[in-house]
Symmetry: C2
Subunit: 111 residues, 2 copies
């Protein structure tokens, strides 16, 4: 690899890629689904639901948080996570708009 060439792309391309990367593992999709379905924020419940060790779940949560897709607050000895809907929508619309706009001009591709 020599060195990550990721910086050589535009910020928007990098942002979109980072968003996609955060969602690029089924465990993280599953976590987002669980968080979205509850009105209460959960934490250790996710560990019970997923077929993964506590430390692994914690790591996935950290990645989702770093990517800005979820919020987390410490609440005594337990911590509480939930979807960051704003960030999610922002990325989601950026994502769809990028391609939907282009699609209109270009309905019939050559292959």
């Amino acid at each position: 690899m020599a060195f990550h060439k990721k910086e050589e792309f535009t910020q928007k391309e990098q942002d979109l890629a980072n968003f996609a990367k955060a969602m690029s593992h089924p465990a993280r999709i599953a976590i987002l689904k669980v968080l979205a379905q509850r009105n209460e924020c959960i934490c250790g419940e996710i560990v019970d639901i997923l077929p993964l060790a506590q430390s692994t779940v914690s790591q996935h949560l950290k990645e989702l948080k770093n990517a800005g897709l979820i919020n987390g607050t410490v609440d005594g000895p337990r911590s509480c996570y939930c979807i960051n809907w704003k960030a999610f929508e922002k990325f989601n619309s950026e994502f769809t708009s990028l391609f939907n706009n282009l699609k209109v001009k270009n309905e019939k591709a050559c292959c």
Copy 2:
């Protein structure tokens, strides 16, 4: 790691994750953008545009193709790629619907 636990999640979760993975690199976002902007399918043009070696671009194209996001046909000594809009829309709507549906019931999260 011991062994990929990815299979232990639902097919839909895996599909979504694979779709996201295909988009999880800025180079692949850039490639999709280029493909979407042209009326003609390109190939080596992408190599000129991206700051990456020909072999690397070819690899990224292969990943996008394997993920079903683009189509590719061989055309003499050159090959021709373009966005697979159908697959893209399918994933995109699955993606947004999953979270938009949940979002309605759940507008105000706890943190």
